[in-house]
């Protein structure tokens, strides 16, 4: 059974709100435990609206969200408890920090979910290892930390609820290369440690090629593709037609192919490309 199933999800905003809001139309997909799912699409394609349904922040206009086969809105009074099952890390999460120590801030989520103090302490120790926060940081004020460190604390605050599914909206936005690599690594570590399911929104196709098992492609509020990452990136022409790119390294491969070289169409990471091209250059068997 899939851990998460989205069935015919539609969300329309009433016209009264003066702000930009993106509608979502008839989206259905299901996610298996342990998968890493990427969501790509333009700003305004409905990605953020979609993920805010997964933990019950938004209520579908039509359709339903099934978690372990059960509709999350079955008992609307209990919707708050869904949030420890589906964690959601917003864009620039460091802007949500508010406590006077890092420890207390990370403990906010687990406390709300009714964890006892002993359990909170154990969880925080585990999570700090995953996000790479040293023990001495826990008693510091989160506002004295650097930007990258604040991001870690904020992500830890959601991870500490130990959600089985964790959703990230642009987790690396605004970070420098070192910070980006660190965040990508902690997401993978979290999944491996807790056998969790991960959903990531990102504009960065290169990151997606590295970590995502499957991709959801959103365009104008509709899900236009949902498939294994390699199958999605193979459809470079279609992606281009809705203004999305494949990873740069794949674009190079496509040009080389046009120049008459014999290039397979499943190269999406630099490592794979290097391996293939070096073998080709040394005259080895490229089909291996």
């Amino acid at each position: 059974m899939s851990i998460l199933e989205v069935k015919n999800l539609t969300h329309t905003y009433d016209g009264n709100t003066p702000f930009f809001s993106d509608a979502v139309r008839d989206v259905s997909f299901s996610v298996q435990q342990g998968e890493i799912i990427g969501i790509i699409g333009h700003t305004g394609s409905g990605k953020s609206t979609l993920v805010q349904h997964l933990n019950g922040l938004l209520k579908p206009t039509h359709g339903e969200i099934l978690l372990d086969g059960k509709d999350i809105w079955e008992n609307p009074k209990q919707i708050r408890m869904i949030r420890s099952k589906v964690g959601l890390v917003f864009q620039y999460p460091e802007y949500q920090l508010f406590e006077d120590t890092v420890y207390k801030d990370i403990a906010f989520g687990p406390k709300n979910m009714g964890f006892d103090d002993k359990k909170i302490e154990i969880v925080i120790n585990e999570i700090c290892e995953i996000v790479g926060l040293k023990k001495e940081y826990l008693e510091k004020s989160p506002f004295d930390l650097s930007g990258g460190e604040k991001r870690r604390v904020a992500i830890a605050g959601v991870m500490a609820m130990q959600p089985k599914i964790i959703v990230f909206d642009e987790p690396v936005a605004g970070l420098d290369p070192k910070g980006r690599a660190d965040v990508i690594k902690m997401i993978a570590d979290y999944r491996n440690k807790y056998d969790a399911t991960v959903i990531i929104i990102s504009h960065n196709m290169e990151d997606m090629a590295l970590i995502a098992d499957k991709l959801i492609v959103m365009n104008k509020g509709e899900m236009v593709l949902f498939d294994k990452t390699e199958n999605v990136f193979k459809q470079h022409e279609f992606l281009k037609s809705i203004g999305l790119n494949v990873p740069m390294v794949t674009q190079i491969m496509l040009v080389l192919k046009q120049m008459g070289m014999d290039i397979p169409d499943d190269i999406f990471t630099v490592d794979k490309a290097v391996e293939f091209l070096l073998r080709l250059a040394k005259g080895g068997n490229t089909n291996a």
């Binding site: 805010q52 949030r83 890390v89 989520g109 709300n112």
Partner: protein
Amino acid sequence: MLNDITFGQYYANNSFVHKMDPRAKLLILVTIIVFIFLAQNAVALSLIALLIFCGVFFSKVPLKMYLKNLKAILPILIFTLLINLFFTSNVNTQPSWSFELFLGLTITNLSLYRAFYMAARILLLIIISAELTYTTTPNDLTDAIENLLSPLKFIGLKNVVHTLAMMMTIALRFIPTLIEETQKIMNAQKARGADLESGNLIERIKALIPILIPLLISSVRRAYELAEAMECRCYNGGEGKKRMKQLKYSTNDYTAFFIVFLVCATTIAVNFIL
């Protein structure tokens, strides 16, 4: 794109009233408010009412917009009506008739008259104010206030006027941004299990802390960055500043002034005659 300014009550259109100088509208508003209270009898008040309804007609704002506005103040209106109806003390004149309801609550012809007057005045006040906000953007209003207050600079209040106007401009600019930000922070804390909906008063106030603190910190950061950006754009407290949009009275405004003057003069006359 012209219809984009949804903030505030502004109803985009291109009517006679919309095109008037915001200063003229503001001055006329103040004048009419004064005369709503100066009008001593039904005829005088009807004259003012007629003037206001002409304005409503020329503003080309749907009547239903005005009604929506009235609905919001209905409780206040009814409250005033009742207070005046039952608690009007008659010192000078004896009422020609009176009617006792219960518990000593009495309606007299005088209190009825007075209640009706108060209700009518409040109604007119609301309508004329709504007319201004429907036809004038908050930005134009800010400009008009700054301009009208500018004589204060001769008594050494120059900085006060400029600072006030700058504050209003920045507030108008940042209110939507801050509303959006509040929403974002609320969602982020809800995603961490924050319970904003249940509990007693104290619990609810406590639940606001995780929202207010990040909002405050972010506002301070914004203020700091904005101050630097303003400095980079040669802002130095309004010294030697000139406005791109110079306010100018047009024929429309003079016509409006003239009509308002006529009606007001008649009102005074009617006050004396009747």
